[in-house]
């Protein structure tokens, strides 16, 4: 074969030239966001025709997580710039507003979807940032698994994290944390917004958490999967049937446990099972853990909706007092309640704590600053995961 003498540079550049056909979101030379030495952050956007450019995000946020905003200044060549003050170590979300129009940062391909919103993200290094980053350590496997749910009559999708070394540990069995999302979330939420795989990889590598399997199901019993991942096709989140707080999911939950126990090397007893969730997922954890009264040794309620509806599929919400009495009579190793001091569910959680106090049901209570936001839920996961299976 006649060798074709192309310098490798050309081999590198040709596809780039080509991909440039579609490279619509990158203005060469614009770096945004740029994390500076002092942990200040510089936002940049090429917007030569713009009259006004702002950035909105949770680094300008109030305690509730409501986004403030700040204006950028136009510089040379139509590039607008803003540098913040030094920021605490954290994972932050933001977007630009160009002449009143919200848009993502053309220079940043890293996004998260929160229910029906897309936002750019960046991580400021330090204690929290390093925990949420992929670090130089061994990593677990994250799988998208379809399981059969006879109770709901459908195949359903979930995310399963198996810790580093699981595949090579022979017959070793692992405990399981069932980790549940909030209203409007899905099986993607904890591994994207919650950084659950990074948090577990890092805690386990540091010896702060036991190696565990983490199962992240979909809490809307009306649908099989996250938007776009099921036969419903590509639709806008929250525009399809929701069966979320009427008992179906709780009544069918053992389908998930059965699948996990029959397909993974799990510790198939109470001491090997934890259940925790945020907001609606706290509601689910609250009711599931007392319904299956001797299944979970560890229960985590993160900013939980702890209300108790009148009616529920399979009588799930009935006989509250006797069920929770049996749950605590059976004994459990950790009943964990965490909430932010400005969370809109704070009062519900205060009432739950009074109820538990009245009955001398032991629990651990953690209160943080801030409201009903992922920043807190990542903190609660980190704390809860460090306390269980020990």
């Amino acid at each position: 074969m006649k060798k074709i003498f192309l310098i490798l540079l050309a081999a590198v550049l040709l596809p780039l030239v080509l991909s440039a056909q579609q490279a619509i979101f990158t203005k060469e030379g614009v770096c945004s966001p740029q994390i500076n030495e002092d942990n200040s952050v510089t936002f940049r956007i090429y917007a030569p025709k713009a009259v006004k450019v702002e950035v909105t995000g949770d680094c300008f946020a109030n305690e509730q997580g409501g986004w403030g905003k700040a204006g950028l200044t136009e510089g040379e060549g139509g590039v607008w710039t803003l540098t913040t003050g030094p920021l605490d170590s954290e994972l932050y979300s933001y977007a630009f507003i160009v002449d009143g129009q919200q848009m993502l940062d053309p220079s940043n391909v890293f996004l998260m979807r929160d229910v029906r919103s897309l936002m750019n993200i960046f991580i400021v290094p330090g204690e929290k940032g390093d925990l949420y980053n992929v670090c130089k350590t061994s990593h677990g496997t994250v799988s998208k698994v379809w399981y059969d749910s006879p109770s709901l009559g459908m195949q359903r999708r979930m995310t399963v994290y198996t810790p580093a070394g699981y595949e090579d540990s022979g017959n070793k069995r692992y405990p399981v944390l069932y980790l549940l999302h909030g209203m409007g979330g899905d099986e993607e939420a904890w591994v994207t917004l919650g950084r659950a795989a990074q948090v577990l990889d890092n805690l386990i590598a540091q010896g702060k958490a036991e190696p565990m399997i983490v199962v992240m199901p979909n809490g809307n019993a009306g649908l099989p999967s996250a938007p776009g991942e099921g036969p419903e096709g590509l639709y806008q989140p929250m525009t399809r049937p929701m069966k979320t707080m009427e008992g179906s999911y709780e009544a069918a939950f053992m389908d998930i446990v059965d699948y996990v126990d029959s397909h993974y090397r799990t510790i198939r007893k109470k001491s090997g099972r934890a259940i925790a969730g945020l907001s609606m997922g706290g509601f689910h954890s609250f009711h599931i853990s007392k319904q299956y009264e001797n299944m979970f040794d560890y229960v985590g309620l993160f900013s939980a909706a702890v209300r108790n509806p009148e009616n529920g599929v399979g009588g799930i919400y009935e006989d509250f007092d006797s069920k929770i009495a049996r749950q605590f009579a059976n004994g459990l190793r950790l009943y964990y309640i965490a909430i932010g001091n400005t969370d809109f569910l704070y009062e519900e959680n205060t009432k739950l704590r009074s109820y538990l106090d009245e009955h001398d049901y032991p629990y651990v209570y953690v209160e943080t600053d801030g409201g009903h936001i992922w920043r807190n839920w990542r903190i609660y996961l980190t704390d809860f995961a460090s306390r269980i299976f020990k």
Copy 2:
């Protein structure tokens, strides 16, 4: 416990109100894109302050995949609209241009990243669209797996697809397709832009392809993983070291095969292995399949860069004629070459075919319309996957 009588509606709405704090990309009531009965598509965007709004995308594209554009018209309440003519069944990509500024569709959370570009997507139903959609059938498992690569001295990330039923099929062994991405791509490319999991799920369910494991590694030996998925943190794609066409990856490829054969129930012989790739991944498949001359019974070169550099790590590019002679003397079941008639690599592939013809090396050749674009690579995967392991 005093029951808190909140109608469930409130339980549903509260979190929405809250998430609305961050719901920056959704204007209620705006549906975009809307696929109409006749397969025309209506684009809409709320942009009350805009003077000019256009949409750019591959539904306006030329054969090379270059994006054309079209203007939207402002209607009531600041919502701009455009309806296309009926479109062929396909997965399409697009973005808006508001007063000259490229931006994603605020009403569409479905995106793909192509190297360093983000674009919205939609699927027009029909033969191809249905193949790229998640259908009402059983689904395989898609896992993000970290494996050890002794040859490269690092842990590396890959995507592994195991077909529906794999977990429940006892000791049954499966053939493996090693599916390689192009320059600037990574282990995410084939399962996002390539819709590989949907294509395999659907072909297998229809009996058109054999159940197989599909292994999608990262072809840049200079990095462990896709941008943002490794210890390098969140960086702009293509701004980190590239070791892609100098032999390192090919020389280390058996690390991947060894991991897969030792961690999955594979058919551990030539008849159970296929290797295929697009563009640079075709280059890799071309050289790997002749270097390991008796390992792969099926070789697929999709729009392949089939050049043969002078020097390569581990002598990978040396002795071309004798290596390919041994590869064909050993016999293989399918040597498959596919390219679009306007692809910029068309001539390289013509030269390869002449070379194979000269030496009476048998191969299958498929030529399609169009250029160096994912639309073609999805077609080639569909065709190739239907021909192997039979």
